[in-house]
């Protein structure tokens, strides 16, 4: 019997825990991780510390390359999967390579969410999801004194702390999309703005942003419905959305994320999805939920791998920990950061 080929798309916590569990349960298989990003798995929550200069870039990363060699896991970084042919059971890469699989786990995580009204300006707005983004912040911040953050979310709050440590002037525009997936009610708004103002952040009150113009390399002009602001750098923070666009028109069921049952199985045999890119069915709710955060991701990655290796584990989430936000059901059971 030939060696089984397992492919994992993604390199975040779900993907890496899936790979580890697969290796533990299938010592003879060939396991390949594909990541479109050219860097190792990293600790996203440390990115603001790196920007603040509190840690070195190397400290961001979880595992050494040698670790993958020891685990006999083929880590293929900077190689983008552009499609999956489920009938032929092939993964197709950007550079026209065709990789067959016996089992597949999609764990691509999320990507920065940018509301439609800001997409026109995405080239001049920074986000913070990866070490590359962090390097960009470091480079930009070396040339500017002021930062304007639009949106909100947990990452932006951590980044703000880092910016204040660097003695940057920080302005914040909180709008309806801020703190997605948490609804921005009056109570949260007051609590957050109060805390930010206490630390020296200027809160900009406005309903909408009309225009963003790049005046110079390190000078942007932002026109709101109330005033015109100038800033050195502009950050956009509206949470993450599942990164599954490349799977459109492959036959996979996709809503916001990939629809999977309570065992993380998709509609195709031996194809699973885990982590932030999955929308998991909840038998009690008779509905799907999405997950957020490192702990959710590692648990789901492991379950997907064990089930792919032949087990039959169900994702256990208490119905009361499923929160509905803007029509999206979210598992917050491990979510304690906020």
């Amino acid at each position: 019997m030939s060696m089984k080929r397992f492919v994992i798309i993604g390199n975040g916590p779900a993907a890496n825990h899936a790979a580890k569990a697969l290796r533990e349960n299938s010592s003879e298989s060939r396991i390949t991780i594909f990541s479109k990003d050219p860097f190792r798995s990293y600790r996203a929550h440390l990115l603001p510390d790196f920007i603040a200069g509190l840690i070195k870039e190397e400290d961001l990363y979880n595992s050494s390359y040698a670790h993958y060699n020891e685990m006999d896991i083929n880590l293929r970084l900077g190689q983008r999967v552009v499609s999956v042919d489920f009938s032929k059971r092939n993964v197709i890469l950007d550079h026209k390579e065709v990789v067959p699989f016996d089992g597949l786990i999609v764990a691509t995580g999320g990507k920065p969410r940018l509301p439609e009204q800001f997409q026109l300006f995405q080239d001049i707005m920074l986000t913070l999801k990866t070490p590359l983004d962090a390097r960009m912040w470091v480079e930009k911040l070396s040339n500017v004194d002021s930062v304007l953050i639009i949106g909100g979310d947990l990452t932006s709050l951590s980044l703000t702390k880092a910016l204040l440590k660097l003695h940057k002037r920080v302005k914040f525009i909180l709008n309806d999309d801020a703190f997605w997936p948490v609804p921005l009610n009056e109570e949260i708004y007051r609590a957050v703005t109060g805390r930010l103002e206490q630390r020296g952040v200027e809160i900009v009150h406005c309903r909408r942003i009309r225009r963003i113009t790049q005046l110079e390399e390190n000078l942007l002009e932002v026109e709101t419905d109330r005033e015109i602001l100038e800033t050195g750098v502009l950050g956009a923070f509206f949470g993450l959305v599942p990164d599954v666009g490349f799977l459109a028109r492959t036959g996979l069921d996709i809503d916001r994320g990939i629809l999977v049952d309570e065992f993380l199985k998709t509609r195709f045999a031996n194809v699973y999805a885990a982590g932030d890119c999955a929308q998991v069915y909840h038998p009690a709710l008779r509905d799907y939920w999405v997950s957020i955060g490192h702990e959710n991701a590692t648990a789901l990655g492991r379950i997907a791998a064990l089930n792919l290796a032949g087990s039959h584990f169900e994702v256990q989430v208490k119905p009361e920990s499923i929160l509905e936000v803007g029509g999206v059901k979210i598992n917050t059971s491990w979510w304690t950061e906020f």
Partner: protein
Amino acid sequence: MPEVDFTVEVCGMAGDGTIAAGGLINEAMSHGGFSVLGFDSYPAEIRGFGRCVTNSRIGSNEIVALGEKTHALISLNDEQSRSRTPSLAEHSLVFFDSNPPAYVPEDNSLLSVLPPGAQVFGIPFGALAVGASGASRGRNLTALGGFAAVTGVDPNLFRKVIRDKFKAKGDRVVDINVKSFDAGYEYALEKFSDRLKSIFSKIETDHDPKKVMLSGNQAIGMAAIDAGLKLYFGYPITPATPIMEYLAKYLPERGGRVVQMEDEISSIGAVLGSFYAGTRSMTATSGPGFALMTELITHGVMAEIPAVILDAQRGGPATGLPTKTEQSDLHAAVFGGPGDSARIVIAPTDVEECYHFVIRSFQLAEKYQTPVIVLTDFFLDNRVENRPLIRAMEGQAASWNVFPDEAFKDHYQRYADTPSGISPRALPGMEGFNFTATGLEHTEKGSPDYSPENHAKMSEKRHRKLRYALKDLEKPAEFFASDHLDVGVIGWGSTFGSVLEAVEKSRKNGFKVGALKVTSIFPYHSETIGAFMAKSKRVLVPELNYEGQLANLIAHLDSKPVDRLNFVTGTPIPPSAIQSRIEELLGVLA
């Protein structure tokens, strides 16, 4: 100041423009002021088959050996490049065609076998070349553009060498090739804007206009012309053929001629004939051709006729490994042939020495009236180096011929037994200096004489002459000289660069190690070599042969046994292998 020691490989199929791309890297980086050592390996078969690889080691300090770990791999054929991945350094840069003409199965893909830390840069080489020039043939230049952008090489260096390379083909050809390069450069600058490396852009180098980029074979050809070569006789054989090609191109401009003979026997015969007549000539061959020449070489020894023979060693025995390197003709060069036929054998260790030793070989042959064999090898012949090359001025290559004194007119003895063993040599046609030259044992006059007394006397005379030649043969050079060494490493030929690098690294690790470069293979400076061996607790001789041929030659000079490191992989000895052996010996000492 930041330093750089960077090795880049280009790998493709024959016909992909691999060798051309490697050559352009060498030239561009040399113009940028870097020290460069480049080496190509290619299949023995004709164009269209097999793997071609170029290896360029680029340094801000002088480079003396090939790089062992590849920091950048430019793949012009992914299936072929899969074999190159074991030598990739951690975090190496890999450039590949991201838009090949057809889908590639994982088992043929380069990316599927890369180590996890490799940084991949997919560039649509072919598509960009078509866009820039209308044809995909310039995809090797597109690849170079990507390499230059990511590593921070000034693109003008590449543009200059591309223009130089193609200028003979006209402006249009120059233009489309520069455009192909620029297409790759611009693409990579934009696509990888957040991953650019600045490896070369931050390095300050001193551009030395006297530095010349030459291969060993080119240096040999150039030296022969500068030495006043008039006739070259040869028969094509890898890796010596480029010498003939070089001379065919340039020798006629200097009034000389290149004659392709029917085989190697006639080649050496013609060389002996022209030298006999007083005209500088030479031949170049490789092991199998050298074997054919041996009888006539001994004729030169016996008849005391000068000859210059270049033996570009390759993997043997027999046809062996035509495009692989080896140092296994030493025994044949020193001892090959019937009778006690001692002759002069010298071996340059780098491209610069190739030039100077070939010039010297003509002078030695003339003065000592014997064949002089210059031993090179595939690695030395085909590698390119940029070194400040001081070419011989007029007079420096002058004849060392020892003509007879007018006093001997009409009673000239061609093989007169002198204290040095050198018999003043008349040339045919010199009035009053008629003589007989023969391969039969002969008297001082040149008449055949097989008597025991005469053979003993003339044998001793010929060998005395060789011993006397030592005063004109370069002495072994000691590096990191010291009164006492824990390990003394003796190197020769192309291997010496690896010896030097290994010894230097071991010394940096705190070990008492030294190196001795032996270039005069026969006769050799036994006192100097013996003294070096005596002061070394262990003596190591790394060689590219199985038998330890230099080690065999010099082992008797000291009572302790010689430690050998013999490589027959067809590739140069990596410095790390020598360093490991040194430190292994040191472990034994401790």
